[in-house]
């Protein structure tokens, strides 16, 4: 049974609907990442779960108990805010201890638990400090400790790594999943960083314009995005897109995109003749220096190193722009670009979307 169950939550403000018919379930010990660009209602969703905002419609159950109208203090929820929201007039210790004081935990046990969690999060040396004396990283860990210490049934993390520096963000991305599992809460983690979503989530809910556009495992969201929008949001550099049309040739179907003709599975046959968009992830583009069967000559305009990979800017015979990512050692062979290369890809790596609706074509299963 799910620990947290949101059913058909809707919420509107004067400016319009922020959440429409959002349903979500999170099991104890599971991390669900709610991902979406800013302004899509992610934070509002968390606030509704926490009980500091009310939904216009829909219900919330926690461990099977209807909490829709319960006040925040009755929900047994922990929340870490994006801006930390520490109590400025409390010490770090008292900040972390606040969920325990609410339950009248005796002094001795309280101290023990606070120092245990502070040790776990490596902030035990600043327990006596006031929030304003902490670094952003320490503030973030204090907020996290405060959210965790009550061992809440539901843990809400509102983009907790947004306001910390890159190094700490990377460390926390590694550290957080392990930490969160030890508490066995149902976790909703909000972020607008797709890498964070992929790294942390057991499931990802892609929120766009107040609706959940896709609900799936990270791998599936990446490999099989339901729509152009989702495909664009995941991946850096973003997916290559090209308009195309499905043609029937003899027995099979084919499309013309990215400079070449590719065969397409029969399962898509019913889309013949419609305007489509073909998507190809940059890492699926194969770039070689010599001609290989099925490859097309492209101009390599520029090579831009990004960490251990490099992004290649390619221009096709008809002016098609295609981005490819290759490993560092491979990139070295291309120097700084301005040369001819040969480009190919596996037809199976192509994702097909309906141009009008933006939805990915669902293969017809026989």
């Amino acid at each position: 049974m799910s620990s947290l169950e949101l059913s058909n939550i809707s919420k509107g403000f004067k400016s319009g609907m922020v959440l429409e018919d959002v349903s979500l379930s999170v099991k104890a010990g599971e991390i669900v990442v709610v991902f979406g660009p800013s302004g899509t209602g992610k934070t509002v969703l968390l606030r509704i779960v926490a009980g500091v905002q009310e939904p216009d419609a829909g219900g919330i159950t926690i461990d099977g108990v209807d909490m829709t109208d319960a006040s925040p203090e009755a929900r047994n929820v922990g929340m870490a805010f994006q801006n930390f929201a520490l109590f400025p007039h409390f010490s770090t210790h008292d900040n972390i201890a606040s969920p325990l004081t609410a339950r009248n935990v005796p002094e001795g046990r309280l101290k023990e638990q606070v120092s245990a969690i502070a040790r776990m999060l490596k902030i035990d040396h600043v327990l006596g400090h006031a929030p304003r004396e902490l670094s952003n990283g320490q503030k973030q860990r204090t907020a996290l400790a405060r959210a965790l210490i009550g061992q809440p049934k539901v843990l809400l993390l509102d983009d907790p790594l947004r306001n910390v520096d890159a190094k700490l963000r990377y460390e926390m991305r590694l550290e957080l999943p392990r930490l969160l599992r030890t508490f066995n809460s149902a976790v909703i983690y909000v972020t607008q960083d797709y890498k964070e979503a992929m790294a942390l989530g057991d499931h990802i809910a892609v929120l766009r314009n107040g609706r959940i556009e896709q609900w799936d495992t990270p791998t599936n969201v990446y490999r099989a995005p339901v729509s152009l929008d989702v495909a664009r949001l995941f991946g850096d550099p973003t997916i290559n897109l090209a308009p195309c049309r499905l043609e029937t040739v003899g027995q099979g179907s084919q499309i013309h995109a990215f400079g070449r003709v590719s065969p397409v599975s029969e399962a898509y046959a019913e889309a013949t003749g419609r305007d489509l968009v073909a998507g190809l992830r940059p890492e699926h583009v194969i770039v070689t220096e010599t001609n290989t069967p099925g490859s097309v000559e492209f101009d390599l305009d520029a090579v831009m190193p990004v960490n251990v990979r490099s992004v290649l800017y390619l221009r096709g015979p008809a002016g098609e722009e295609v981005l490819a990512t290759v490993g560092e050692s491979e990139a070295a062979r291309f120097g700084r670009g301005h040369r001819k290369v040969w480009v190919s890809f596996a037809p199976d790596d192509i994702l097909l979307f309906d141009a009008a609706s933006g939805q990915r074509l669902a293969p017809r299963v026989n």
């Binding site: 809707s10 216009d56 419609a57 829909g58 219900g59 109208d69």
Partner: protein, 336 residues
């Protein structure tokens, strides 16, 4: 700024002037129907009533003000003398109409307007000058600006007594100094020709620091870049003052002046303590006149009508004031 025209842009709540005035129950009801969603009938949780519960005492005070206010409006349409209770009767706007031909009324209007304009102009010029003098936050300037607050924190009624002692014809230090300068019969507040000057002087003494301290806060909050750029370009100082300083300071100047103008129109304490409106009717400002009308001549209807006229003037002004005041407030706190 100005993103929420619905609540803050609207004039303050005056039921008599607001056609769509709502009762408390109406408000609760509409609030509830808006909140109720077809899918989810709302429970009447504590949270929904909390704001009303918290503001209930303030609401009572509000009602405690509004009831006498409406009573005063009602009184102003009565023939109502405390000493002749049997004459009490409804006479519509006769009290107001009688003002039109009443020299005393026009004298009151004139005295009040002159008083307000002269004091506010004087205080604005002096206050701006002092603020510019003290704008650099040096230790001496800061200490001086704090010391200058003392007159403002003196009760105006007591300030008037202080000046009365200093202008006493027998021993007043100011009377002495003026006579040394050759003005032997300068009788300050007791002479019709100098009474206005004397009372204005006390008003200026008390309230200039008010304008000074608001403008000083305004001046010190101005962005530095335009001034640095002007200094680099060698722009003349007068140009900087009239084209940069003054326009940027304008919101503060307008707010402070309107604030003072509103209070000054209704000046009572200083005038009453110093001269009780005299000598003769030289200083018969609105509130002093209304006070005497009520307590000396026990003419409640006329007194109320006088105050309603004054209220109408100040209400119009206060709407303008509140608009400017809210802009400044948004600057300090963000939109409310």
């Amino acid at each position: 700024m100005g993103r929420r025209p619905d609540s803050h842009g609207s004039p303050p709540f005056f039921p008599s002037f607001q056609p769509n005035a709502m009762t408390f129950l109406d408000l609760v009801r509409t609030h509830m129907t808006v909140a109720a969603h077809p899918n989810r009938p709302r429970r009447l949780t504590m949270r929904r009533f909390l704001p009303y519960l918290l503001s209930l005492p303030a609401l009572l005070v509000c009602i405690g003000i509004l009831i006498p206010f409406f009573t005063a409006v009602y009184y102003s349409t009565l023939r109502f003398r405390l000493n002749l209770p049997m004459m009490k009767g409804f006479i519509w706007v006769d009290n107001y109409i009688s003002f039109l031909t009443d020299a005393a009324f026009w004298n009151t209007v004139q005295v009040s307007l002159v008083y307000a304009l002269v004091t506010v102009t004087g205080e604005l010029l002096l206050g701006l000058g002092i603020a510019l003098l003290l704008v650099r936050p040096t230790k001496i300037n800061n200490a001086a600006s704090i010391m200058l607050l003392l007159p403002l924190m003196t009760a105006p009624a007591l300030a008037a007594l202080m000046w009365k002692l200093m202008t006493n014809p027998n021993f007043g230090i100011l009377s002495y100094l003026v006579s040394q300068l050759g003005f032997d019969n300068f009788n300050w507040a007791s002479d019709p020709s100098s009474a206005l000057f004397t009372v204005v002087l006390v008003d200026v003494w008390v309230y200039t620091p008010f304008i000074m301290i608001l403008l000083l806060a305004g001046l010190r909050s101005l962005p530095k870049q335009p001034f640095e750029a002007a200094a680099l370009d060698g722009v003349p100082r007068s140009f900087v003052f009239f084209r940069i300083t003054l326009p940027m300071l304008m919101p503060y100047i307008i707010t402070a002046s309107l604030f003072r103008l509103l209070d000054s129109m209704q000046q009572f304490d200083i005038v009453y303590s110093m001269t009780q409106g005299g000598p003769g009717d030289t200083l018969m400002v609105f509130q002093v006149q209304a006070y005497l009308e009520f307590f000396q001549y026990t003419n409640v209807g006329r007194s109320a009508a006088l105050l309603i006229v004054l209220w109408a003037i100040t209400y119009a002004l206060s709407n303008i004031f509140i608009k400017h005041w809210l802009k400044l407030r948004e600057r300090a706190h963000g939109p409310a």
